[in-house]
């Protein structure tokens, strides 16, 4: 019996794994783990389905130059080949000719080690990860407003104590179903749930209030709500005066966002806006949570800032069962962004251009600080530059299926094709692995040990339950093997617990301080919340009660304006396209599409009956969605739960992201996944 956590989303539900026979695993409930209390969705219950699957890769593969096919190779051959090619490229074109792409699903240990591999063994600045496409806008906003980026600054269960919970662009009932139990308890207590989404989702169906804005207008909605809160005298003036700066300018900015103007921009009737403002003003405890729907925009950071301003005006952040938080998406979306796989960061959420941070981390790594490269390109910009004159010529990919998950995917795929060398470490032959010159088979969740940091900032431990198949290495072993072949000045450990304690030292004194966390403490305490700077420190489940993490301890109210999406509908592309997830699949589907009992129905196009009538489509008919970047043919799903001016396509399959827009947020560098202009036809 092993206690561990689900391999998928950021809720990191606790579960127990029981061995059945020699290699099979059975998932069982772990009722004592507080986040999910034994509940799991079908993805969790079936997570062991990939074990022993024929889809698993069990041997390194190397593309044969003559035939162009992948053929099995030994680990030595594969790693020697990779190291030799990388060394040659570095010699010829400099260290930035090699890039590294990580993932928000990697354990803390892997994410940390990947950053170290890039900075120490490869000496490249070109490292980023797919978490940039997850919650980076919320991260950027929270850093500006609160001086720290921890998705939820409180345990998730705290929301049960709110009087009003506002979910902006979150469909948690489908993306992290066990979390919805907290909504039900909140409502049983008499609290209200508000959902803001262009689709009346499963989450919206269990809400008391539902607002259905035009995609890309959540920012204007927040400005309009704050306008009404100001007008109704709902601002907590004492709190604003004592705990924030900058509110005066924000107050003036929202004076221009009266309800009827907001109605015209957002498509939300002024009466609904007023009703929600009244609800907020009348509530003692309000919690605002944003997710990808609000964040994956070219104005995602500003959108989050606008909602934070609303929470601050109401005096909520730091109050019990109230405040603002981000519902992180990927399993280790939180930890993955803290330990150095982000282009501009070093472990402990340190900034790579901060001399003191460089000094500290370099000392832990045993290298000179001036040997560390500076900041590199963000995820999309890194991929966009591949194979160009000043871009990288080789790419190492860990824990990401870029071909499916990158925006403007056709273009990105062409950039991957332009590489001299593509190396992909994965458990299965993902769409990206299939393009690689070298594929390295790695362990999956139950076959390795490591920590994850869930959406609450709670560091949890996934324990190894079973030995990996023969021929499969852990990512840590792959990185160590590469580092030594690349002539790294320092050794790379392959023991997760050892790497974690090194990570702790590297993070010590940083914003995300893990120094006091050990595997044993995690086991005993059902996870430990960072910051936890020392062995005697209890961890920090709740932030901001006394002060914020800014130099003066006050939250920053940042004045923002609504600019609107990068692409607006026109004659040729008259509808909005938005994308998202379905319950039974996870991210690019590399794992879940290979679990036999999970339905793998392929993408579909959700559209309203009025729009379906307009184009003459019936439920189930094949329809074509076209944007300026590509097209997708898929069956129509005709539902009255979506705005009639919007179509929705899930992104777990190749196709949706051929349509999406690569316009980037100026601050977070988040692509605009959640809205672009499209045409739909039969």
């Amino acid at each position: 019996m092993t206690h561990t956590h689900c391999p998928y989303c950021s809720l990191q539900c606790g579960m127990r794994l029981e061995r059945r026979g020699r290699a099979a695993l059975e998932v069982q409930a772990w009722p004592e783990f507080p986040v999910n209390e034994g509940a799991l969705c079908r993805k969790g219950w079936t997570a062991a389905g990939l074990r022993g699957s024929r889809e698993r890769l069990t041997s390194p593969l190397v593309r044969d130059r003559a035939s162009g096919e992948l053929r099995a190779a030994s680990w030595d051959e594969a790693l020697d080949l990779v190291a030799a090619r990388l060394t040659a490229l570095r010699g010829q074109h400099g260290p930035d000719s090699v890039a590294v792409f990580g993932g928000g699903g990697l354990t803390n240990e892997k994410a940390y080690q990947l950053g170290k591999l890039a900075r120490v063994a490869l000496g490249t600045s070109q490292i980023d990860y797919n978490g940039r496409w997850c919650m980076s806008s919320a991260a950027s906003a929270a850093n500006q407003a609160f001086g720290i980026d921890r998705g939820l600054p409180f345990p998730l269960a705290d929301v049960e104590g709110s009087d009003v919970l506002v979910l902006v662009g979150s469909n948690l009932a489908e993306t992290m179903p066990p979390a919805a139990r907290h909504l039900d308890r909140l409502r049983e207590r008499g609290g209200r749930v508000v959902v803001v989404d262009p689709r009346r989702t499963a989450t919206a169906q269990r809400a008391d209030t539902f607002l259905q804005p035009v995609p890309g207008t959540d920012l204007a909605l927040a400005l309009g709500l704050l306008h009404l809160v100001v007008a109704r005298g709902g601002v907590d003036e004492e709190y604003v005066a004592a705990r924030t700066t900058g509110f005066d300018v924000v107050r003036r900015t929202v004076a221009a966002w009266w309800p009827e103007r907001v109605e015209r921009v957002t498509g939300v009737p002024a009466s609904e806006l007023r009703a929600l403002a009244d609800l907020l003003v009348g509530a003692a405890k309000v919690t605002v949570l944003t997710a990808r729907g609000a964040e994956q925009h070219a104005q995602g950071t500003d959108t989050v800032l606008a909602w934070i301003n609303l929470a601050l005006a109401l005096g909520m952040p730091g109050r019990e069962s109230a405040g603002y938080g981000c519902l992180t998406g990927q399993g280790n979306g939180q930890g993955g962004r803290e330990h150095g796989q982000k282009a501009d960061q070093l472990p402990g959420y340190r900034m790579i251009d901060d001399p003191a941070a460089r000094e500290h981390v370099a000392r832990v790594w045993g290298v000179p600080a001036d040997s560390l490269p500076g900041a590199g390109r963000s995820a999309y910009e890194l991929l966009d530059s591949l194979g160009t004159d000043d871009g990288a010529r080789a790419l190492l990919v860990f824990g990401s299926n870029i071909v499916v998950s990158a925006p403007n995917a056709t273009h990105v795929t062409r950039r991957l094709e332009a590489l001299d060398l593509l190396v992909v470490a994965d458990l299965v032959m993902s769409e990206t692995a299939a393009m690689a010159d070298v594929v390295l088979p790695v362990t999956q969740w139950a076959e390795e040990t490591g920590t994850m940091t869930n959406l609450e900032g709670r560091v949890v431990l996934r324990e190894r339950a079973v030995a990996p198949p023969d021929g499969v290495w852990s990512d840590l072993e792959v990185m160590a093997g590469l580092a030594s072949r690349l002539g790294s000045p320092v050794a790379f450990s392959t023991d997760a617990e050892e790497v974690f304690s090194e990570l702790g030292r590297a993070s010590a004194g940083g914003r995300a301080d893990y120094a006091g966390i050990t595997y044993d403490r995690i086991r005993e305490e059902h996870g430990v919340f960072w910051p936890c700077p020392s062995a005697g420190h209890p961890g920090t489940p709740r932030l901001f009660a006394e002060s914020f993490v800014t130099p003066d301890g006050r939250a920053r109210c940042v004045s923002v304006e609504h600019r609107g999406p990068a692409e607006v509908p026109c004659d040729d592309y008259p509808v909005h396209l938005t994308t998202g997830r379905v319950l039974a699949q996870y991210q690019s589907g590399a794992q879940t599409r290979r679990i036999r009992v999970l339905p793998d129905d392929g993408p579909f196009v959700e559209l309203h009956p009025m729009l379906a009538d307009r184009i003459g489509a019936h439920d189930g008919d094949l329809v074509v969605v076209v944007t300026r970047r590509g097209e997708l043919k898929a069956p129509a799903r005709v539902v009255s739960t979506i705005r009639p001016d919007t179509v929705f396509v899930p992104f777990h399959w190749v196709g949706a992201n051929r349509l999406t827009n690569d316009a980037l947020d100026p601050s977070s560098r988040m692509p605009e996944f959640k809205v672009c202009a499209a045409a739909v036809r039969t």
């Binding site: 035009v214 109704r232 003036r252 004076a255």
Partner: protein
């Protein structure tokens, strides 16, 4: 900014403020001079009726503080009335004699209230009769609110002073608290007249509207909508006189209300209509609209018709270095009176003043009444669009007091009137603004209610638990909740299906053959 690029803006209203914001956003705020004749920091004029009604405190209207202008290098001069523009010398002269040179002059002088031809309205000294109020500026609003106070009308919400101590709920606003016998007559039944009438009704006044045209909102809507509106207003307690002009205002001596504590000279007035009625009232509010404020432009020799005539660059057709935006400007034969087009013009002009090439092509307007209990939206110009051959799809429902009309041309909604039912406003406005081409049936569908599906017995393959992917049939096949959990995993995820599962178990047919 060098003196050679000195931008001077005359006016500090909505258009001028937005222009400055746009210039600042483009890094070109430094050195801009703003000459506002009102003494107040720029404020959101369109919310004045909300202040009157009590839903907004005056302080919530301020758009930018003087400090903001200073911080961005903008020279904001309040209470600065411009007397004249000298285009030869390229400068303007203020009432205090100050001369301000310009390279580019922007006239954003807005509009001034129309004075209807009513005898007795204006006193011999040129000021309005003290019972008569205009409603254009913050000072007008303050004066009217002061009159309400002296007539004993209380502020229902105490909004001026309300603050929200930590964790406490604010007091609920009791909008009936201010009920009095005070009366007010609105002269002019347009958008402003309706808003002010509703605001005063909410404050407890008995209100009447006098409209010279055949129906209310005659500049915006047709007779059917106007009649629905009049009925709605009567239901809300406002008397409406259409087809009637006020012709004479006179003081009523020995009036019954004269005994109030404020005493002094004030008494009620009589407003005589051309149909013979005389309305006895405490207040008269002039809401007959406004006209572009063009005196400066005329004085400077610029071409003025109804407004200051500008080209697609928002430059005067007489002088390319003088621009006009907002209510005072006339482009392609049209003036507007709305904020959205004024702001579009401000953005375009800011772009041009900073070297861009944006061009003004005209705006789509959405006129939206802001008044409690009255739901009105007018998109574009429905009467003209219909007269120009647009196809009209309309639904009038006098039983519930709604009238909705879409004017469609080539499948595109080019104008619309929505009275009494704004349930689809969010979508209709989007289609209107985007010029979305609709199918033939869609305009009709937009005016119909949503079809509600009849309740149905759940089919065996209907999904009950999405988390675990379990159908109704599989649940009906279980004997107990425990069995459901064990065999199907339903209810073990988000928990949302628990009640549906219990219901299915409770209503499942008894298994035959069991003992």
């Amino acid at each position: 900014m060098s003196a050679a690029r000195r931008i001077v803006v005359v006016g500090s209203g909505m258009a001028a403020t937005r222009l400055v914001e746009e210039l600042v956003a483009r890094g070109a705020g430094e050195g801009v001079v703003v000459l506002g004749d009102e003494p107040h920091a720029p404020y959101n004029r369109i919310l004045l009726s909300a202040v009157l009604e009590g839903t907004h405190p005056v302080a919530a209207l301020t758009l930018r503080e003087p400090e903001w202008y200073a911080a961005h290098g903008v020279d904001l001069r309040l209470g600065a009335r411009v007397l004249g523009v000298d285009r030869e010398r390229r400068d303007v002269m203020l009432a205090d004699g100050t001369v301000v040179p310009y390279d580019r002059l922007v006239l954003a002088t807005g509009s001034i209230p129309s004075l209807p031809p009513i005898r007795g309205l204006v006193r011999l000294d040129g000021r309005l009769h003290e019972r008569v109020h205009a409603f254009r500026s913050l000072d007008d609003c303050t004066r009217l609110m002061g009159a309400l106070t002296s007539l004993g009308v209380t502020d229902p919400c105490g909004l001026v002073t309300n603050r929200r101590p930590s964790g406490q709920k604010p007091a609920v606003c009791d909008q009936t608290a201010g009920a009095t016998h005070t009366r007010a007559v609105m002269v002019g039944g347009g958008l402003l007249g309706l808003q002010v009438a509703r605001a005063l009704s909410v404050r407890g006044l008995a209100t009447e509207i006098v409209e010279g045209g055949e129906h209310l909102l005659r500049s915006q809507v047709g007779g059917a909508a106007g009649r629905v509106l009049a009925r709605d207003l009567r239901r809300l307690g406002t008397t409406v006189y259409t087809g009637a002009r006020a012709v004479r205002l006179s003081d009523l001596s020995g009036d019954t209300d004269g005994a109030d504590a404020t005493g002094g000279t004030i008494g009620t007035v009589g407003l005589r209509l051309d149909n013979g009625y005389t309305l006895e009232t405490d207040l008269v509010v002039l809401t007959a609209g406004g006209r572009p404020s063009t005196a400066l432009a005329r004085g400077a020799g610029l071409e003025v018709r109804r407004g200051i005539v500008v080209d697609e660059h928002l430059a005067s057709v007489t002088d390319p270095d003088v621009h006009a935006i907002g209510d005072c400007a006339e482009h392609a034969g049209r003036t507007t009176g709305f904020v959205a087009p004024a702001w579009e013009q401000a953005a375009i002009l800011a772009d041009r003043l900073t070297g861009g090439g944006a061009v003004h092509t005209g705006s789509r307007t959405v006129a939206r009444l802001r008044a409690t209990g009255l739901d009105v939206a007018v998109l574009g110009d429905p009467e003209r669009a219909a007269a120009d051959g647009g196809e009209v799809v309309e639904v009038t429902n006098p039983v519930v007091g709604s009238h909705r009309k879409l004017v469609v041309r080539d499948g595109v909604i080019v104008a619309a009137t929505l009275v009494g039912d704004l349930s689809r406003i969010g979508l209709i406005t989007q289609y209107f603004d985007r010029g979305t081409r609709l199918a033939g049936a869609e305009p009709g569908q937009l005016l119909m209610g949503d079809r509600t599906a009849p309740p149905a017995r759940l089919a065996a393959d209907a999904e009950i638990c999405a988390c675990a992917g379990v159908s109704a049939g599989r649940i009906r096949a279980c004997a107990s909740l425990d069995e459901v959990r064990e065999t199907t995993r339903a209810t073990t995820g988000c928990g949302g299906c628990a009640s549906a599962v219990r219901e299915l178990l409770a209503t499942r047919p008894a298994l035959s053959g069991t003992t």
